[in-house]
Amino acid sequence: MDENIRYMFHPRSIAIIGASNKLWKVGHAVIANVLYGDCLRRDRTLGYKGKIYPVNPNEDNVFNLKCYPDVLSIPDEVDLAVVAVPAKFVPGVIEQCGQKGVKTTIIISAGFGETGDEGKRVEAEMVATARKYGMRILGPNCLGIYSLYEDLNTTFARAMPMKGPISFISQSGAFCASVIQYSLEEHFGFSNFVSIGNKSDIDDADIIEYFATDEHTKCIGMYIEALKDARKFLKVARELCKKVPMVALKSGRTEIGRSAAKSHTGSIAGNDIAYEAMFRQTGIYRARTMSELFDAARALAYQPPPPPEGGIAILTNSGGPGVVATDAASDLGLPLAKLSDATIAELNRVCPPEWSHRNPVDILGDASPDRYSDAIHVLLEAGEVSGLIVITAPQAMTDPETLAKRIVEAAKGTTKPVIASFVGMISSPAENYVEEQGIPEMSFPEDAVLGMHALVHRSRILRREQIWQ
């Protein structure tokens, strides 16, 4: 792995080129985000703690920091430069950053390869300049990055995600902002977040190589329109996937989707058959929608893969969602556990006689937190159960917060994956609690099933050499 890329995520000092006091300028939002984590805050507890050097020939001070006319005037080493100036000035800035010995430069500015051949030419020249000095470039035409455990936000987005185990790459900038909003609603967090832009130099393979070395990253998520060096990516991802689970949403699956991708980032989305082959070879779990991408990422980041033997158990207090989950499992080819006589006898002991006596395990509308807890214990100890989905439809007798606590307690110490679904609830304290305790919670049962499918896929990928031998 290139150490320069590590410095992008862990810089000791940052120059913000184009930093500005003028509200509504990109360079204003970027420096405010670096200083305060979230550009709308004005205290530095959530902001980057290293050295910050604003650069702008038209300002003396930016946010009370001394501002330098150019990067070469900074009396210190600069690990990371973030460039937010109009496109025509960027090549000159890159030359200066190179001379300065900057390790990586993030070019936020747009107006390059995505605009046509002339833009591509300028981009290639900048990369040649960077190579000459041993510097790396992220972008151009990107939103920037978050390195959450450094409290570092170099973007111009108005949001700060929570810290957590997912590292994410997106080829679409605005997608990033939406994803962060969604993560805040659903209460899951990120270790790193990269808007990768035009990939003039640093590409997907470079970024996942770094992610795989990052101690906080438990799952890598990707939004891909087209890979730049597809063969390199396959080789790198195949190795890394043995270590870290990965999930990707590759758009342009259809002919019409591909032409939409071409007008979006100018990239050729390519033959989907080849991408599908690549996903199968690398072991990357392929998501088909945005919700699948994050359902799978959360499951893979927070829960262990199931043991190879047995099937999934579905525990519910309502028949309908149980059937929906069962259909979803069947569509995905996810086997359900067939309950043994011993397990049925155990459940008879803790449930009223009307319980379903089969999987899905319906413990009835009046199920108390205690009954859930007992049933969870029985199911997680059953040899035929490899993973558990706990569904709750809120009913008059349900106390979601107590239930959330009991689910977490009952699942403690198990090596089997558990996913919860408080059906129809969004951003409730009960959901946030289980999520914080490491049990992913999905609002609909079929999404919980998808998460479990990603874990079963992971388990198979980890054993693929044994399966074939």
Binding site: L234, G270, N271, I273, A274, M278, R280, Q281, W468
Partner: protein, 232 residues
Amino acid sequence: MAVDVVSEIFARARAESRKTLTLDEARSVLESTGIKFNAYAFCKNLEEAIQAARKIGYPVAMKVVSPNIIHKTEVGGVKLYLQSELDVVHAYEQIMENVRKVMPDARISGVSVEQMLRGTELVIGVTKDAQFGPMLMFGLGGIWVEIYRDVSFRIIPLERVDAWEMIHEIKGIAIIEGARGFEPADKKKIVDYIMKVSELVNAHPEIAEMDINPLMAYQQELYAIDARIILE
């Protein structure tokens, strides 16, 4: 040296500015990697064809050999399951008549007489993807591939586990494993053949397209029956 045989054949085709190898050339290339073909003889005339059929043993197949004809079936240039000398004579005459009618300008070098194997028809193909490069296809061959497209793909070079997984990905895996009275095929041998093709193409990026179709699974062995190799 297997590689030398292959390079020589490619060089000869290029020297003659041909992109498509003849079946003989394709056979030699694939045989150099260890892929087996059914018994086969090139015959310049009917007498040679009768001799060859006797030597190979019935049933046999007969196919027209012509540098101008790629799709032999379409011109009536293929006759299968010939059981006797009489069949061979009839087939020869019909093939000559059909081809002269449909493609009067085609130069006919002769016919091939081949051992007729009845087994599960498989296919291994190679195409090039603009982003990922050479890509290998596996599936049920013959008419199955044309009608059902029951195939799986992997990017070359493959690892053995990829070959194993792609075999199990097709719907027709039950047929390969011997469902409903089909004779089961040796899956490890299929893996071997897939790997041979992957290695050949990986070593020779000048191969633009290839297919072995059908590849016959017959009595725990695999025999390529027909093959096509197209160079860049």
